[in-house]
């Protein structure tokens, strides 16, 4: 039940890039993307050990789900698995917290599903 215009949430990362390649304290990011996850059918590069939402944000995808009634967008909020705003469906299983679940190669993520109905 994707609302129309959800494609506009897929802003391309800004010219500087969303991944922090060089940081004055953390140094250089030595990781290279090791796998691909699929978010609503789009391939997104992901780094070993990072949560799904980190790969999504790095690719400019900020909407993790939409509410049932008003299709209001939701995304990162608490970042540590407590608030449930970031829930996505992973490999068909709904209500997975994208801010703490680590990426795996080939993972299929859907952002548009609300909690699964009983039916």
């Amino acid at each position: 039940m994707c609302a129309e215009g959800s494609s506009s949430s897929r802003e391309i990362g800004n010219a500087r890039g969303s991944r922090i390649q060089q940081h004055p304290i953390l140094g250089r990011d030595e990781r290279t993307p090791c796998c691909t996850i699929w978010v609503d059918g789009q391939p997104i590069p992901a780094c070993q050990g990072e949560p799904i939402l980190a790969a999504m944000l790095a690719a400019g995808v900020v909407v993790t789900r939409r509410t049932e009634k008003h299709a209001s967008p939701r995304g990162l909020f608490c970042g540590i698995g407590l608030c449930t705003d970031c829930m996505v469906t992973v490999n068909g299983v709904p209500n997975q917290r994208s801010c703490i679940i680590q990426v795996q190669d080939g993972m299929r993520i859907e952002t548009c599903e609300e909690e699964a109905d009983d039916a």
Binding site: Q22, H23, P24, I25
Partner: protein
């Protein structure tokens, strides 16, 4: 004293996040003008009582004193201080500078810098004051990134004479500020 200067003296750190002239003068770690004019010396802009003493424990000349109550503000023995600048990178609050007002060709300011890209020797940059305002053009003289500084670069810049107690940060020339 005009209205702006008067305001600057009364509205200070708690209200704006920037030390007023009066507060700066009260810091026991800020040396006299006379000492500043004799050669490089530490300027410890630590005004509040917070539990912290790495400046004292790291000064090789014992020129900084905090004491048993580690919330005491650091006092500077300006006579013992030789402006070696070790304390700059040791201060967790990035509140220490080394200023030399004895030179003919300008004042020299050493300051902590923890951003990228690092300035390069010879660069001309905007000298920024305590409230983030560009106030003059400065020239980068040294950039010290030794490992003992633990990723706090210590940058020394030559600033116009009389600006040594004003320049506290750097920005690439021509870069716009943040204000909305």
């Amino acid at each position: 004293m005009n209205e702006a200067e008067s305001k600057a003296k009364t509205v200070g750190l708690r209200q704006t996040g920037t030390l007023s002239c009066g507060e700066l003068a009260e810091c026991p770690g800020v040396p006299s003008n006379e000492r500043l004019r004799r050669g490089p010396v530490a300027v410890i802009e630590c005004y509040e009582e917070i539990p912290c003493n790495p400046c004292e424990s790291n000064c090789p000349r014992g020129a900084i004193c905090v004491g048993d109550a580690i919330t005491n503000r650091p006092c500077l023995d300006a006579g013992a201080c030789i402006g070696c600048a070790i304390c700059i990178a040791r201060c967790p609050g990035l509140a220490i500078f080394v200023v030399d007002r004895s030179q003919e060709d300008g004042d020299y300011v050493s300051l902590p810098y923890e951003l990228l890209p690092l300035p390069k020797v010879g660069d001309e940059m905007s000298g920024i004051d305590r409230s983030g305002e560009p106030i003059c053009v400065v020239e980068v003289v040294t950039v010290n990134t030794r490992s003992a500084n633990d990723r706090t670069a210590v940058v020394t810049v030559r600033v116009p004479k009389s600006r040594g107690m004003d320049v506290r940060f750097l920005r690439p020339e021509g870069e716009a500020g943040n204000a909305f």
